[in-house]
Symmetry: C2
């Protein structure tokens, strides 16, 4: 059934080819998107095309936290209202957005750009770990919060960073593991439930401050 | 849970907004696509953007069959090898591609741009039906094949076109309805099975020519 499709137009074919290179978009979806664009206003499609081009050409990584940014130093790193002494270490920029959306954190970030994963060939040297150690010393940080995924790779990376920072006079903390909001005890796995008993908190503290 | 997301970059936000306007792409998928693009080569992303812009700016509809085309008269309509006396009427350009992929049809097409659907407010005047009637007369067509969807709307449109073309000396045919290749009789609906008995064909003819 894999016959190459015959497109009525080169322009159409090019656009389909380009869309189909994106992850999760097959040729059928690409064609559907392209036919949708053909029916839109010229200005709208031009704006889409230019948004993608200028995104790639002009975006940069913040030289301090390695988050995506429009400026050499990102908005968060240059905001006077943020606490410069606490840094939250995350895997990627999506996680920065997730933590920001909680409105519970007023410090800065450090984006590793991935986590240690021998299976995927990602070694510590591929990540922004050395720059984190350097930054911890240079900026004399009070606390580094490890906010990596609760997976084997996340734990490995947590431990690796913890050993690198040990003895540098910085407090290293990690996100609380426990029962998610709305979860039933019955359906919680034993490791999570066990840890949540070991790490139980004073009831008053659990209400937040 | 609907808090507006805080993006670390305006460029990123713009690109996400533009992608999220496409059908079937939510904000989460848009962000995933955009972060993918940030990691690609500049040339690749520029090519994607330009492919979309020039698609919308330069594509046209064939003045004869209304298919999408790079030229005023499309490739199919201007090919000397095609049979100019038979026209296959389809709903949209995807259906042109579907019929072309069978390699069983050597005539030309007529793209209606939709089918009659009072529910969606699509009237005959919104479609390329008048131009089909005009073309039938002007080009002195021998046969018009109705290849519309096997739905209520498809049947309505078939019937509408049939009445418009009646008495103009053109043979009007429609696609065979029957059991799909690979189908079990047990799971075929009664209407299809019934029709396939009424419209049974000589065994030798069923082998194709």
């Amino acid at each position: 059934m894999i016959t190459p499709e015959k497109y009525p137009s080169k322009l159409l074919e090019n656009a389909v080819n380009e869309f189909a290179r994106l992850p999760g978009i097959g040729r059928k979806s690409a064609l559907r998107l392209v036919l949708h664009l053909v029916r839109q206003d010229k200005e709208d499609v031009t704006r889409l095309g230019n948004a993608l081009i200028s995104l790639r050409q002009d975006i940069m990584h913040c030289r301090r936290c390695h988050n995506l940014s429009d400026t050499p130093l990102c908005e968060l790193c240059s905001a006077p209202s943020r606490d410069n002494s606490v840094v939250c270490v995350v895997e990627n920029i999506r996680d920065v957005m997730s933590v920001e959306n909680t409105h519970q954190f007023k410090g800065l970030y450090h984006v590793l750009g991935g986590i240690i994963s021998p299976m995927d060939g990602i070694a510590p040297s591929d990540l922004e770990i050395d720059s984190l150690v350097e930054r911890t010393e240079k900026e004399n940080l009070a606390e580094v919060i490890l906010a990596l995924p609760a997976t084997m790779e996340g734990d490995t990376t947590n431990f690796y960073i913890y050993r690198k920072l040990k003895g540098k006079g910085v407090k290293v903390t990690t996100l609380a593991r426990g029962i998610s909001f709305g979860d039933e005890l019955e359906y919680t796995d034993e490791i999570t439930l066990g840890r949540s008993i070991l790490n139980r908190v004073e009831f008053e503290q659990s209400l937040g401050k």
